[in-house]
């Protein structure tokens, strides 16, 4: 019985949260990797683009709520996301037309594009803060839990409860659907294949008649979808705050690079690698060992490898180690 309790404990505090957090990171990481693979620069505006998409989601959610439209048990935000995506894509294409296109056409070095993306980051951040303000916003409505800890205890008669938030399940399901559609698109359709070809070898792709304008446009459209959904899911699960989104850029970069930048599947897995290692290394295992070990061997301290303050530091250290020992990432990068 103690063993089952220990498993439930890990599920509740490590597995479920890490899976949800990992999915959110994975969407961001695929976004980074797509931009890197096709447009060939590190996009420092990632976090702020995600917060921009989330901002639209929140505005539409408020609008629908004021009209009295809701999805019952599901959050209203789900209804708002498609509309937000449309606005987000328009924003992305505008930015590309007025900012990034010039440097792409001139074949500027990637460093210059990265610098330009910092300018975009400043502007996007300003717009978000001016429109919706810098404070914490919760826009979740509907049923909060699928299983509550208390109900689970009653149901199974265990000491440990398992609480599963509906946003966590929602995050995982949406991520799986989105990512499998994306991989199907990249691997099976003609446009997807031409995108991969363009990422692999630009000159050859151009020679075989692939239209770069179309590729770039589709990349921004996919990026817009990913950024909005990723951001909105994160906001639903935790809360929306522009500064947190800006900070999330760092683990997202870590996930993309760990997975091998330019490789969407690697980025997808990289998100989970980062999320799991962050939570595994900073969790206090005291209770777990109390269940597993006999009473005489019970640990005295918290049995925590690192204090939770170092959560971010964990992902960065992983990244630094990966960068030093295997700069192409765990799954060889640069093949979209």
């Amino acid at each position: 019985m103690d063993f089952v309790n220990a498993i439930i404990l890990l599920l509740n505090y490590i597995f479920v949260p890490a899976l949800a957090y990992g999915s959110q990171l994975a969407l961001g990481a695929i976004f980074v990797t797509l931009i890197y693979g096709i447009l060939r620069f590190a996009n420092f505006a990632t976090g702020d683009m995600m917060s921009f998409g989330t901002m639209f989601t929140i505005l539409f959610t408020w609008y629908f709520q004021s009209l009295g439209i809701s999805l019952g048990v599901l959050p209203t935000a789900l209804l708002a996301i498609p509309f937000a995506i449309i606005f987000m894509i328009c924003y992305m294409l505008l930015i590309d037309k007025f900012v990034f296109k010039y440097y792409r056409v001139n074949k500027s070095p990637p460093v210059q594009l990265a610098m330009v993306s910092i300018g975009v980051m400043f502007v996007t951040q300003a717009v978000v803060r001016i429109v919706i303000g810098p404070s914490d916003r919760r826009f979740f409505d509907g049923e909060k839990f699928i299983i509550k800890a208390g109900e689970f205890k009653e149901m199974t008669g265990l000491n440990e409860g398992l609480a599963i938030k509906s946003t966590q399940v929602l995050t995982i399901i949406v991520t799986l659907i989105l990512v499998s559609t994306l991989f199907w698109f990249l691997n099976k359709t003609k446009t997807g294949k031409s995108m991969r070809a363009y990422s692999d070898n630009e000159d050859l792709a151009l020679l075989s008649g692939i239209d770069p304008k179309k590729i770039v446009m589709i990349t921004w459209i996919i990026a817009g979808i990913l950024a909005t959904i990723g951001g909105a899911l994160y906001g639903l699960d935790k809360s929306f705050k522009p500064f947190t989104y800006f900070n999330n850029m760092l683990p997202i970069f870590a996930a993309a690079i760990v997975g091998g930048i330019g490789n969407p599947f690697g980025a997808f897995l990289g998100g989970y690698v980062i999320a799991f290692s962050e939570i595994l290394l900073t969790y206090a295992y005291r209770k777990f060992f109390m269940y597993v070990l006999p009473e005489s061997m019970e640990p005295g301290g918290l049995v925590q490898l690192l204090s939770t303050d170092y959560k971010f530091a964990v992902s960065f250290s992983i990244l630094v180690i990966v960068l030093l020992y295997r700069p192409s990432g765990i799954f060889k990068g640069k093949v979209l």
Binding site: V99, I118, G119, V127, P134, A313, L319
Partner: protein, 456 residues
């Protein structure tokens, strides 16, 4: 003279703007802007050495700034004797363990060929080392943090004058840069940018959460000053006389004695804070001028030519027998050390160390905007960038407010749009920075004062 005309013009305009602030807002604001402009100028010089001279991207400026600030704390704060006796020995012992661990890793690296086994041995040494150090240091750390936590709760510093910390800050930052450079400089440009950004976040995380060393988010306040205190000045005779002389024309208009005395008091209070700021300006100006002379000399020396050669064509420079790796490391350390000086100067000026305030937006990206806007590769340009961008960063709020009032003049004062816009005036600075950076990158990619190299 002619060829320097644009430099002189740009700097005169900048000075004119600051003087205008002094006349229209107050000299206090003008001087605090000027001081921070000088500190920013030191930071941009550091970043410019790395980016402009050698083409190295360093997005870790925040980390070096914070280390400089840490140096200011560790140098100037008086040592906390109780804390030392409570846990000092544990900390010192852990320090020895860390040194031992590093030496062991070095030994393994030298002794064995590169292989999987070597990697595993190193990993074991590091992991077991961390566990042992945790066990050794934990009781010490707890004991230290329990010593009067409301006031100290940390080891304190050396109790030396804070000016020394400017040099020590440079050493700290240079040391960190040496370690980072050793491991990360081989990376491609954009990977290096991301890696340095993340490493600086780690540095901040450590400074924020190792309370025994830095007091963490509890902040260290009331640091020593290299300049006199306002309160002391207000009671010194020569200073009051000086203020009286300065404002004699205004004071003579007032005939009533009591009124005259209170007016004088007001002038003395204002004057004291202006005087203190002027002291800081003088100190900072000395640092900026020394650094400017050194960096200009370096830029035109054979070493500077070699750096530009490496920047413009690494392979060719390598083929000519220049040690690219070594030079990159050297310039990475030098640039970071300069940023470290700026970090210590910043804490010296503020008189307090707040680890929570180190954010990448303000201390990394803003500095980069300064370098790019000012003109990378040109020291005068970089300094000008520091001045222009910091000036705009501060004055963006008043300008934004003016613009909001202008565009919404037709609306009622309580109209929700107007109220909302006025509330969000502080964020217009981000907008201005972003648009400014984008415009400069597009239409003047070499900055306001572009790099101009003449062979003398």
């Amino acid at each position: 003279m002619r060829k320097n005309l644009n430099v002189i013009a740009a700097y005169s305009i900048m000075m004119g703007l600051i003087i205008l602030v002094g006349i229209f807002q107050s000299w206090n604001i003008a001087l605090s802007i000027f001081n921070l402009c000088l500190i920013s100028a030191v930071m941009t010089m550091g970043a410019n050495i790395q980016w402009g001279y050698a083409g190295l991207i360093n997005f870790g400026i925040m980390g070096y700034t914070a280390l400089g600030g840490l140096a200011a704390v560790l140098i100037s704060v008086n040592p906390v004797q109780e804390a030392w006796s409570a846990g000092g020995s544990n900390i010192l012992f852990s320090l020895f363990l860390i040194i031992g661990m590093v030496l062991a890793v070095r030994y393994v690296l030298k002794k064995y060929e590169k292989s999987k086994i070597r990697t595993y041995i190193i990993a074991t040494i590091i992991i077991s080392g961390i566990i042992i150090i945790r066990f050794v240091s934990e009781p010490g750390i707890e004991a230290i943090e329990e010593v009067n936590p409301a006031k100290t709760g940390f080891l304190g510093g050396l109790g030396l004058p804070i000016i020394f910390s400017w040099i020590v800050g440079a050493l700290f930052a240079g040391g960190l840069a040496f370690v980072i450079g050793k491991v990360a400089l081989g990376l491609r440009a954009d990977y290096l940018a991301i890696a340095t950004l993340l490493i600086s976040e780690i540095v901040i995380a450590i400074i924020k959460h190792e309370d025994w060393l830095t007091r963490g988010v509890k902040n260290v306040i009331g640091l020593k000053r290299p300049a006199p205190y306002e309160v002391d000045l207000q009671q010194t005779d020569w200073f009051i006389n000086l203020v009286e002389k300065f404002n004699s024309s205004k004071l003579n208009l007032i005939s009533d004695f009591a009124e005259r005395q209170s007016a004088l008091n007001q002038f003395v209070i204002e004057g004291s804070s202006v005087f203190v700021k002027l002291c800081y300006s003088g100190l900072f100006l000395i640092v900026v001028i020394i650094l400017l002379i050194l960096t200009q000399k370096a830029l035109y020396s054979p070493w500077g030519r070699m750096m530009r050669a490496i920047r413009d064509n690494e392979e060719a420079a390598n083929a000519m027998g220049k040690n690219v790796v070594k030079q990159h490391l050297l310039i990475f350390v030098l640039g970071s050390a300069i940023v470290g000086i700026a970090g210590a100067m910043l804490v010296t000026q503020d008189g307090l160390f707040t680890p929570g305030s180190y954010r990448p937006m303000r201390y990394t990206f803003l500095i980069w905007v300064m370098v790019i806007v000012g003109g990378s590769g040109n020291n005068f340009g970089a300094i000008l960038g520091g001045f222009v961008v910091w000036f705009l960063w501060i004055e963006a709020a008043p300008i934004g407010l003016y613009l909001v009032n202008l565009t919404t003049a037709g609306l009622d004062d309580t109209h929700f749009l107007k109220v909302h816009l006025i509330e969000s005036v502080p964020y217009f600075r981000f907008l201005m920075m972003g648009i400014g950076l984008l415009l400069i990158m597009r239409y003047r990619p070499k900055g306001i004062l572009p790099e101009k190299i003449e062979i003398k």
